[in-house]
């Protein structure tokens, strides 16, 4: 017990040091705090960026910093200009050496345990990394501004952020909430996985004037029983496909899925992953597209 005050004092001193360090960066440098709570300081705006998440690659191009992207993942296929950027991995377990060969002065990572380890490894070879968690549309706006600062594209970042926030605050198309149709996003069929309130898809549904039947789940996605989907009885089942083809997903013809009314009545929407696979600055376009497809299904 006697040692406790010392420990607390030591911790406070350490925290104070950390704060003091991040508050007084060298002249002309850029300091931000990323979504993993790490203080990231750049000596100058980033000129060579390796982006290891499709959402951040799209965002960098959207704010006008696309010419600075020198490495991407195999999944970063939007916009088309991104396809000419060299691939350095699949973004799940970053290959530090492959990243280093591009001589980046900034690496953008999605928030995950593996990526936090990768960020520490990159720090050891003096490559700054920023960890961004992009699950909701607010995150797109926030990260647009953050990447704008780090690349000296503040106005580009700001206008993307404003566009996303504008889409987010747009009034819903039909105000009567009682008559709204209910949808369920089924992202995997066995075991069934659905989208909850922690995902941008839940937001897109609200903005398109329908209600996510699994809005009560706070996480981005969750495994549920098929029985639960049947009992919640959504009017439309929505899936996301990598490819553009609008065929019905394979589970729509599985016998056990016929208990779900929307599947039985073939009210299944397949959305393209390019627009709906991640939170993106094209939120307004995604909302309009979702609304159009839902109306076509009537």
């Amino acid at each position: 017990m006697a040692q406790r005050p010392h420990l607390v004092g030591l911790l406070l001193a350490l925290v104070a040091c950390g704060r003091a360090g991040s508050r007084t960066p060298a002249a002309g440098s850029l300091a931000v705090t990323d979504d993993a709570g790490r203080a990231v300081t750049l000596a100058a705006p980033a000129r060579r960026i390796v982006s290891l998440a499709p959402s951040s690659t799209e965002l960098l191009f959207a704010i006008g910093a696309g010419d600075r992207v020198v490495g991407r993942t195999t999944w970063c296929r939007y916009p088309a200009a991104a396809l000419s950027v060299p691939v350095v991995g699949d973004g799940l377990n970053p290959n530090i050496e492959a990243i280093a060969t591009q001589h980046p002065d900034l690496v953008v990572l999605y928030a995950s345990a593996l990526n936090e380890t990768a960020a520490r490894q990159l720090e050891r070879i003096a490559i700054p990394a920023v960890i961004l968690r992009q699950d909701l549309l607010e995150h797109v706006a926030r990260d647009a501004r953050l990447l704008g600062r780090l690349t000296a594209h503040e106005s580009g970042g700001d206008s993307v952020a404003r566009a996303v926030l504008e889409a987010l605050e747009a009034p819903p198309p039909w105000p009567t909430s009682a008559s709204r149709r209910r949808v369920a996003f089924v992202v995997w069929d066995n075991p069934p996985m659905v989208i909850g309130a922690g995902s941008f898809l839940d937001q897109l549904a609200e903005l398109a004037g329908v209600h996510n039947a699994f809005h009560d789940l706070t996480s981005a996605s969750a495994t549920v029983s098929l029985e639960t989907i049947a009992a919640r009885d959504p009017d439309v089942v929505i899936t996301i496909a990598d490819s553009e083809d609008a065929r019905l997903p394979a589970f729509a013809s599985a016998r056990e899925w016929q208990v779900v009314r929307a599947v039985r009545e073939r009210r299944v929407l397949t959305l393209p992953g390019a627009l709906f696979g991640r939170p993106s600055p094209r939120a307004a376009a995604a909302v309009a597209e979702l609304r159009r497809r839902l109306q076509a299904l009537r």
């Binding site: 195999t74 999944w75 699949d90 799940l92 995997w188 069929d189 066995n190 075991p191 069934p192 996985m193 699994f214 009560d216 789940l217 969750a222 495994t223 549920v224 029983s225 098929l226 029985e227 639960t228 049947a230 009992a231 919640r232 990598d242 394979a250 589970f251 013809s253 599985a254 016998r255 056990e256 016929q258 208990v259 992953g273």
Partner: protein, 313 residues
């Protein structure tokens, strides 16, 4: 008395699986509700059949290789099944039966390979070589499927592992019917081998002197147990612990005679998996837990308790 208790427990577990679920169905409407008729009931039957099959396969393989750590997946079947499933997705084989069939074929291929490696001198099946062959074939198949998944670009492949980790979400009357037509033959072969398996526990040579054709016995038991496991993997993925722990619980309570043990582990395995699946569906509703985690959470404490009681005496 023990038999009555076990039978009552089995009926209780099955009834619970039908009565309880994340969706509220009034008791009066149980038989009319499509949720019960098309989802809960086939899932409960499938859980019981798969759990029972895994219990019998585990008990027989433990007797065959005379190793208490043997479980139905030890002989490379889970690795083969995952390779089959991953290959089916990578080659874009469609249809609701593609994944189970591919997993079944993969498991059978692994079984054939392990069998061939386990044949010492081309004739005699050596249990020790069989175990080693099973481990390396399983590890190799798992490595190949992981390589395919990490090099591929389809999201579907990453999710193939979710399916393989086990679960009864895909249960319907077609899968129940397929298993009902398929499982009785290997089960009958194993039940018929009960007496020779008792003698095998004395050692291969003494068993031979007592009139057991040891070479034929080993082949029949190996093939039948593997066929049973392959079907279980095909309909429900790799569900751990049932095939390992239930045979041990059965031996602790019923002794080592296979004539009693095999029916006991069938009922016990079915009971454990039914209970575990009910917990998986209900405990965190509307979410669902992976059933393999629940079998471990339920089965391991029961096993530890019995083990303590048994070692004290």
């Amino acid at each position: 008395m023990k038999w009555v208790g076990l039978a009552a427990l089995a009926v209780f577990a099955f009834a619970l699986a039908v009565l309880l679920g994340p969706a509220h169905v009034p008791v009066a409407e149980l038989l009319r509700s499509p949720i019960v008729r098309e989802l809960r009931l086939p899932r409960a039957v499938l859980a019981f059949l798969v759990g029972g099959s895994l219990g019998v396969a585990g008990a027989s393989l433990q007797a065959l290789v005379r190793n208490p750590l043997a479980d139905p997946y030890l002989l490379g079947l889970s690795g083969g099944a995952s390779l089959g499933a991953v290959a089916a997705i990578a080659l874009h084989v469609g249809g609701p039966w593609a994944l189970p069939l591919a997993a079944f074929v993969g498991a059978l291929a692994a079984m054939g390979l392990v069998y061939r490696l386990g044949l010492v001198g081309g004739v005699e099946l050596d249990p020790r070589v069989l175990v080693l062959a099973g481990v390396v074939v399983g590890a190799f198949a798992a490595a190949v499927s992981t390589a395919i998944v990490s090099l591929s670009e389809a999201t579907a492949l990453r999710n193939a592992f979710l399916w393989l980790w086990g679960g009864l979400s895909g249960a319907n009357w077609d899968t129940v019917l397929a298993l009902c037509l398929y499982a009785p033959l290997p089960l009958a072969v194993l039940f018929a081998a009960a007496r020779p398996l008792d003698l095998l526990a004395l050692g291969e040579e003494p068993a031979g002197y007592l009139g057991v054709d040891v070479a034929v016995l080993k082949r029949c038991v190996y093939v039948a147990a593997s066929l049973l496991t392959a079907a279980a993997v095909a309909v429900s993925g790799v569900i751990g612990f049932v095939g390992l722990i239930v045979p041990h619980i059965g031996r602790l309570l019923w002794g080592h005679r296979h004539r009693a043990l095999l029916p006991v582990v069938f009922l016990g395995g079915g009971t454990l998996l039914s209970l575990a699946d009910t917990v998986a569906r209900v405990a965190v509703a509307p979410r669902e837990l992976p059933v393999g985690i629940v079998t471990a959470l339920v089965g391991v404490p029961v096993f530890a308790l019995l083990l303590r009681r048994w070692t004290r005496n």
